[in-house]
Structure formats: structure tokens, C-alpha cells
């Protein structure tokens, strides 16, 4: 009996020490995951949303700086309220959704990780691909690890949630998005806000 207890304790300890990072899937059937984009030009402000989010992250709550993976937004899921503007935005002159169906951010490394009251924050550096152009950028990210909360979103499903929030700015001219278009009508700077929740079922 004592031997059994010792083996179980040893196994439990070994499991805790070598606990594998959790894999979080960001394809959200509830449609909550989204990106909001804003272009604030002197003559016209353009606001839109995108909800075609997918991707997988490997996250270890004990070591968040080792997070890896990528987040993908389907270009065709970008939406603005004016139908003609939407056609133009997704058309060949601007985002060319047919030729570049994905907007992708792939994590390379994470720095300046801080933990404050259940939140993790850090500077995530990675390869951002937009309109077929890939550039390395650094973005601030705030993460919340919600242990055992998946069941609150998906009934009878045990697991964890990882919530990510980030706001950053890119320049459309850096990504070859109609660089000749007048910037007083369509801003060069695109502010992107990501609100994402990934699920790690058990």
C-alpha cells in the first residue's frame, strides 16, 4: 500500500513538473472572436469588423513566454456596412481577398512578460502577413487564462479558455494595399483590435 502511494506520488510529481503546454483552438463556433479595424482619415473614417478567426496557440500558464502558434483571419470575413465599400475593400485594388484569402500572425517570441492579478501581458513579436506581404511586428497582448471555464461556454465540455486582447497599428502602404490612394480619404494607418478566446478541451 505504501509502495503504491509512493509510485502514485512520484507519477503525480513527474506529471506536474513535465506538464505539457495546452493547445488552444481559436475557431469559435459562437462567433465571439473578432477583429475590429479603424481607418481615421481627415475626410472619411472607415470602421469594420472581421469574425473569420481561426488558429491554434500552444500556451503554458506556468511559462507564458513560451507561447507559440498563429492566429488567422479570413480576408473575406472583413465587413463594412456599405456594400459598395465592402466590394471595393475586398476587390483586387485593395485587399484582393481572392488572391490573399488569409491575414496571419505567427508568433516568433514574447518579451516583457508580466503577471498581474490573473492577467498576463507582454510584447509579442511575430510575422504578420497582410495582402501577401509578411513583415515582423511587435504588438502588446493581454492574456487571461480561465481554467475550467470552457464548460460555461460549451455545455458539458470540460476544459480551459485563453482570452487574448490586443490593439496595434499597421500601415497599409507597408503591405502594398493601394499605396497610391489619397491618404486624406483612406488613412494609411489601420488600427486593429483583436478580441479572441481559445478553447482547450479535456
Amino acid at each position: 500500500m505504501r509502495l503504491h502511494s509512493s509510485i502514485l506520488f512520484a507519477l503525480a510529481t513527474a506529471t506536474a513538473v513535465t506538464a505539457a503546454p495546452l493547445s488552444f483552438d481559436f475557431k469559435d463556433p459562437k462567433g465571439v472572436n473578432n477583429a475590429v479595424f479603424k481607418l481615421d482619415a481627415p475626410l472619411e473614417a472607415i470602421n469594420g469588423t472581421a469574425n473569420g478567426v481561426s488558429g491554434t496557440l500552444s500556451f503554458d500558464p506556468e511559462n507564458p513566454s513560451k507561447t507559440s502558434g498563429s492566429i488567422v483571419v479570413g480576408t473575406a470575413s472583413l465587413h463594412v456596412a456599405n456594400p459598395m465599400m465592402k466590394d471595393h475593400m475586398l476587390g483586387a485594388q485593395w485587399l484582393d481577398a481572392a488572391a490573399h484569402p488569409e491575414i496571419r500572425f505567427e508568433i516568433a517570441r514574447i518579451g516583457a512578460v508580466k503577471t498581474e492579478g490573473g492577467y498576463f501581458s507582454g510584447e509579442v513579436t511575430g510575422k504578420f502577413t497582410l495582402h501577401g506581404v509578411t513583415k515582423e511586428i511587435s504588438v502588446p497582448v493581454k492574456a487571461t487564462y480561465l481554467k475550467d471555464k470552457l464548460g460555461m461556454r460549451v455545455p458539458n465540455q470540460k476544459g480551459d479558455l485563453l482570452v487574448l486582447r490586443s490593439t496595434f497599428t499597421v500601415k497599409r502602404s507597408d503591405y502594398g494595399i493601394n499605396p497610391g490612394a489619397p491618404q486624406d480619404k483612406v488613412s494609411d494607418e489601420i488600427e486593429i483590435t483583436l478580441s479572441l478566446a481559445g478553447a482547450s478541451p479535456r
Binding site: 459562437k30 462567433g31 465571439v32 472572436n33 473578432n34 475590429v36 469588423t49 469574425n51 465587413h79 456596412a81 456599405n82 456594400p83 459598395m84 465599400m85 487571461t144 480561465l146 471555464k149 460555461m152 461556454r153 479558455l161 482570452v163 486582447r165 478580441s195 479572441l196 478566446a197
Partner: protein, 86 residues
Amino acid sequence: MKTLLRRLSVILALSALATWLALGRNTGWTKTSVTTMKTDPVTTLEYPVTEKRFVPGIDLLGVSLAGAAALAGLSFLGRRSRTNPS
């Protein structure tokens, strides 16, 4: 004919203005959908909920008012009735 054109012009301008006012006084472009943000209770994330709704913008109002002005302008064209000098 002139009277008919002028009446049509007034009707078009007033109905366009009334529709624009009634459907939200949108000073941007015409929208075919409206997005509102809601909050997910578990993650506290804000997410967009988009519903199909027609909201006329100043582009549609402008075209309607221009059409009304064109109708009014047409009513001033054509032959004027002249009084006989004798």
C-alpha cells in the same frame, strides 16, 4: 405638365428627406447592415453582432435631392406662353 413636374419634384424631395430623417439621419454612406457590440459574459470580450438593415446615407439623400432639383429645372424649360402684343 410644368405643374406636374414641380409637384413630383416637391414630393420626391420631401419623401427623401422624411425617409432619411426617419431611418436614422445617417451622415455617412448608405448602409445595408448595422453592427452593434455586445459583451460575452464568460470571457468579457466585446464582439460585433451584425443585422441586415437599410440605413440611407447622405449619398442617397443627395441623389434624391438632385433628382428633385432636376425635375424642378425641367419644369422651367419649354415654350413660354406669350401674350399677343396687339
